[in-house]
């Protein structure tokens, strides 16, 4: 009796949940309505079976429950009934499969006028590459990949020279135009997913896979990795902004071509020395940092990281949060560096300064910090040496009190929440694993042992 | 996966055919006397060990079919190079054929109850089988000496892998051979080892066929 009622309640509850709960597909933003339609058909067919079979079972449980002295009906089989059920099931299966196969045929057939570009995945970021004026993506190979050439473009291939390189997880797409994404991975399996587009495909190292769609509404969407790719899998995010063609072109033209990025001259340390004079007041003459002025040690830090942060301060991607007191002090200082060349020069100068480990100031239990550092090591390296490929700066021998401040900033959304600071955003996900201040101190105390 | 699929469909077809034959046209709810079906109740008229060996050979075939499938799929990679098949493999193949022949003769002798011929046959096939294994190791050494290391190219890696898996199967067989030979040398009557000898014979023939197929695969991709 109770079981029959519960079965009915479960059926009714499931159907109500389906209709009433706020959790369902995000509003679609691509041409793949046919996928949603197939889902709807599948829901009707399977929902019908679910309701009918379960209600019938509930009826049987109630109607044919044990009664003393009663015998069950004796009927070994009923071929007609079984054949009828097989037939009905087959009809239902065909009703779901046929529209599905048609949708799939469209899914794998890329329209000829589709704009082709490339999504490059690596642990744990997406980058993008658009063909330049020649409309052809240059050839690539894993053997060319380096910190200077993260896309692995063949330097001798003329068609690759004008490729536009977007070394940022944020992608812009023109509205209403079919796009073909050629998907490539530098290291492990990844997947480029935007829930609103419905379409997705894995990236496989050694292969180029593809997926296509046509964005049908403007907006900014989150993109994800949906194929397990290692420790920071959950932090592998990006953004896709769908906008009008003109805005898209403007965005695209703000990025350098491969030739331009190759041609960039190294910074001039001598020129940088003059620029750095302003900085010495806080950072110290050797860029060794000064805790009392909240200036971290810079010497020995990776140039690419210093450059990125200086740009962030200058462009308002960092040091704008109201609670970021010291960041707000840094922003106007960075603004004094008038252009990219100036930044390069300063960074080049800092590179020439002697690298002595910063004194340790943090009290914590290094032993307890060892466990969570396994996660940090995935990007920053087991020795805390920093890895450019994972966008992770050096930690070992750097100012420990500064790491504590920054981890807290990440935890409290003071840093990394600016939409133009995608790598900071990753750190907010990571810093959140430290449940309290003690855990933070312990972790940094462990980092202090990496010398 | 084509090779694995072809093998499995073949095998599944046999299993299905046998099972359907057991099941079609039977109305199981009809009460029957058990005596009528005493003979034809579906049990195979073979000793269980033989059936067991048959099932095991099916499993082993699945393993080798999958290895060959993987070999062919991997072969499509651009980095695949020609495999310099060591000449000694021809000699090894001949030795393994002789081992199989010796087993066959041992089986005939066991059927006729001739203990001495069983003894000599078993020893001959065992010695030949160990020579085969030694020859395979020699082939490995040649490969290694010529610089074809296991990690250098997938073609070499597969060569080592396929020969190793086959060799391990043969070693497993030799374990049974040891036990059987020990019994024979202790002078037990032929009837007690006949089944073991038969099983060994089947297994040796099977491994010979597997080896010839593997060798053909290695040769085929040589050119």
């Amino acid at each position: 009796m109770a079981l029959a009622i519960v079965l009915v309640l479960l059926v009714v509850g499931s159907v109500l949940f389906h209709y009433l709960s706020p959790w369902y597909f995000t509003p679609i933003a691509s041409n793949w309505d046919s996928i949603d339609e197939t889902v709807t058909i599948t829901f009707w067919v399977t929902g019908f079976v679910f309701v009918v079979v379960n209600l019938f079972m509930a009826y049987c449980v109630l109607r044919y429950r044990y009664r003393k002295g009663k015998l069950a009906h004796y009927e070994p089989e009923n071929k007609k009934l079984e054949l009828a059920l097989i037939l009905a099931t087959t009809v239902g299966v065909v009703a779901m499969l046929a529209p599905g196969l048609f949708a799939w045929a469209k899914f794998i057939e890329v329209p000829k006028d589709a704009t082709v570009f490339e999504v490059v995945a690596r642990q744990w970021n997406f980058n993008y590459r658009f063909p330049g004026k020649d409309g052809v993506l240059g050839t690539v190979d894993a053997k060319y990949v380096s910190d200077e050439n993260p896309f692995g473009i063949n330097p001798d291939d003329p068609s690759g020279q004008d490729d536009v390189l977007i070394a940022s997880p944020e992608l812009h797409l023109p509205l209403g135009k079919p796009v073909k994404l050629e998907l490539r991975s530098i290291d492990v399996l990844h997947d480029f997913t935007v829930p609103q587009f419905r379409a997705k495909m894995n990236m496989v190292p050694g292969l180029v896979t593809y997926v296509w769609f046509r964005p049908t509404r403007t907006g900014t969407f989150d993109s994800f990795c949906e194929q397990l790719c290692g420790i920071a899998h959950f932090a592998m995010r990006g953004k896709v902004a769908v906008e009008e063609e003109s805005a898209f072109q403007a965005w695209l033209s703000s990025y350098p071509t491969y030739a331009q990025s190759k041609a960039r001259v190294a910074g001039d340390a001598a020129a940088g020395k003059a620029l750095f004079a302003v900085c010495t007041a806080c950072q110290g003459a050797q860029a060794e940092g000064n805790p009392s002025l909240n200036a971290p040690k810079l010497s020995g830090q990776a140039p690419w990281y210093l450059k990125r942060q200086l740009k962030n301060f200058k462009d308002g991607a960092r040091g704008t949060h109201e609670k970021d007191v010291f960041g707000k002090m840094m922003a106007p200082m960075a603004a004094t560096l008038t252009d990219e060349a100036a930044i390069d020069n300063v960074v080049a100068y800092i590179r020439t300064l002697p690298d002595n480990p910063a004194p340790t100031t943090v009290n914590g239990n290094a032993k307890n910090g060892q466990d969570p550092y396994v996660t940090c090591a995935a990007c920053h390296g087991a020795g805390g040496q920093g890895i450019q490929a994972t966008n992770a700066p050096r930690l070992k021998g750097m100012s420990d009190w500064y790491m504590v401040t920054q981890l807290k900033n990440f935890q409290h959304g003071v840093r990394g929440t600016n939409p133009h600071d995608p790598y900071g955003r990753q750190m907010t996900s990571m810093a959140a694993i430290l449940v309290d201040d003690q855990a933070t101190s312990d972790l940094v105390a462990y980092i202090d042992t990496l010398r | 996966m084509t090779y694995a699929l072809i093998f499995l469909s073949g095998l599944m077809a046999i299993v299905m055919w046998w099972l359907v034959r057991q099941t079609v046209n039977v109305k199981p709810w009809t009460e029957q006397r058990s005596v009528e079906i005493m003979q034809g109740d579906g049990g195979l008229s073979l000793p269980s060990v033989k059936v067991g060996l048959g099932v095991f050979l099916a499993v082993a075939t699945s393993l080798f079919a999958l290895l060959i499938s993987a070999y062919h799929m991997r072969m499509m990679g651009e980095d695949w190079t020609k495999l310099p098949v060591p000449r000694v493999l021809w000699l090894n193949s001949a030795v393994l054929i002789l081992a199989s022949v010796a087993m066959q003769r041992t089986r005939a002798a066991a059927r006729q109850g001739q203990l001495e011929r069983v003894k000599s046959g078993l020893i001959a096939s065992g010695v030949l089988s160990f020579s085969f294994l030694a020859g395979q190791l020699w082939a490995w050494q040649q490969m290694d000496a010529a610089g074809y290391f296991v990690a250098a190219n997938p073609a070499y890696a597969f060569f080592y892998l396929l020969t190793a898996v086959h060799g391990l199967h043969l070693l497993g067989g030799l374990w049974v051979w040891c036990k059987t030979t020990a019994k024979v040398l202790r002078g037990v009557e032929v009837g007690k080892v006949r089944l073991s000898v038969e099983l060994c014979t089947v297994y040796w023939h099977y491994l010979l066929v597997v080896w010839l197929v593997l060798f053909a695969v290695l040769l085929h991709t040589h050119t």
Binding site: D187, L189, L228, R237 | W29, I37
Partner: protein, 613 residues
Amino acid sequence: MTSITHDESAYVPPAEVEEPELYHPKSFVGKYIWSQDAKVIAVQYAITAIGVGLVALVLSGIMRLQLGFPHAFSFINPSNYLQFVTMHGMIMVIYLLTALFLGGFGNYLIPLMVGARDMVFPYVNMVSYWVYLFAVLLLMASFFVPGGPTGSGWTLYPPQAILPGTPGANWGIVLMLVSLAFFIIGFTMGGLNYVVTVLQARTRGMTMMRLPLTVWGIFMATILALLAFPALFVSAIMMTLDQTLGTSFFMPALVSQGQHLNYNGGSPILFQHLFWFFGHPEVYIVALPAFGIVSDLIAVHARKNIFGYRMMVWAILAIGGLSFVVWAHHMYVSGMNPYFGFFFATTTLIIAIPTALKVYNWVLTLWRGNIHLTVPMLFAIGFVFTFINGGLTGLFLGNVPVDIPLSGTMFVVAHFHMVMAVSPVLVVFGAIYHWYPKITGRMLNDTLGKFHFWVTFLGTYAIYYPMHYLGFLGVPRRYYAMGTTVFVPESAQSLNEAITIAALIVGAIQVVFLYNLIWSYFKGKPAGPNPWRATTLEWQTPHTPPKHGNFGATLPAVYRWAYDYSVPGAAEDFIPQNQPPGKKAKGLEQALDASDLGAQKLDGAGTPKPIGS
């Protein structure tokens, strides 16, 4: 349809079968440790599997804590979260469910149900268990090696499984692969036994079509496992070589964290093909025994023959055959040749037809039955409900374009837990409540059992049904934390909290079950030989629990199929399989006499009263 011959003269006394050479252990160690008795091996398998399953259950609880209350627990970080995910999945699928259904139930039930004294190769059977135990210990050892167990997900996809950036990429993954290889070797030994025992050791009169569906399910699952596990074996060996010797079977040229590695040209997709060539049949390796067992539970407790026995057998055969040609439906978004999608979507949806037929027949067995809502029956009906839900969501993921938005999301997690975790586990519980009286001679406590059922059934549904909708929303699986996104509403987090609470309750309540198992072993109500009044041979043994050799001096002869329930005109509502024709008027007592001339008669076991109603 009912044609029963009434031929009094047809009775043939069972032949005096020569007592087979059985290994008769003398000491405790020989009897319970190095045992060659399939029943003892079954219990060894079951205890090991359930023990390691409890570890995996705890791991899942930790995972749920993180998902429900992210960043509240300092002992969970992204690295060990992935290790917990991986170990939970692998343990549950391979080391618990596969081992429990085949090694546990297979060992216990096959010889008893086909009327054999033991497995045909008892020694090999014993070795099978010890190899399995060794595999389990190897796997557990990976918790204690530097770097911990592998965190590459239970699918172990290369390249990431053996690269830094994934936890346990050195020791953990190698131990996992070696452990799997040993598991497969051990399983193959057991599997040979199950198949050959069903083929060779059936007692007189036990035709294939008189086998209970439990045996059919386990038999077919074993065949699948024997043929599919080599694929895992091959991929495990090849990946071990990639990891240790630096071969490039699966490893393409790649740059890991800025380091060029010495790999070239390997194909990660090749691994996926091999893995799923095993992985999909694996689903049925777990499901088919569950299908078989639940068929028998429903028939016994509804006092009705299983509806459409022949169709049920053929459905098992069809599912088994088809399960080898659907594997790539796990790879729709893998980047394989997209044209495969057409083929695999079609085969996948075709396999739904025999599966649906089985569901219909279970429900039709209840129809016009005389349903005793005993604890095993509750679990069986709970299984049917859960399985319908999980099977239907499979149609979403099997249909290629529908899979595209849902793959890699919590929908997949919800689906396979519904169909491959909760459903078989409900059957495991039902089966334990059903056969425990035979195994120990005592009934499990009914009240505790019902409590266990209701919490488990409703709780698991509360966990997994709403989880599908997180998947629709686009919440990815294997995410340590969702963080902030534009499209996932805050309410999704409260849903996650609710799911976690349900999961913790369900997990904790299993203690009641364990308590019941232990308490009833000492204090349970004595069961008698056939408490459920069932027809199959395991209930007709002269001793409960059955002794080594199962059937006393003579093996039973079988005269009918396993489903003679509520036969019109019979004195009882069941006729044991070994009851000769014409004797049915006298019921069980006569059957016992007939089947076991030499054995002592059971005390007061004439016609046991039905238990539970």
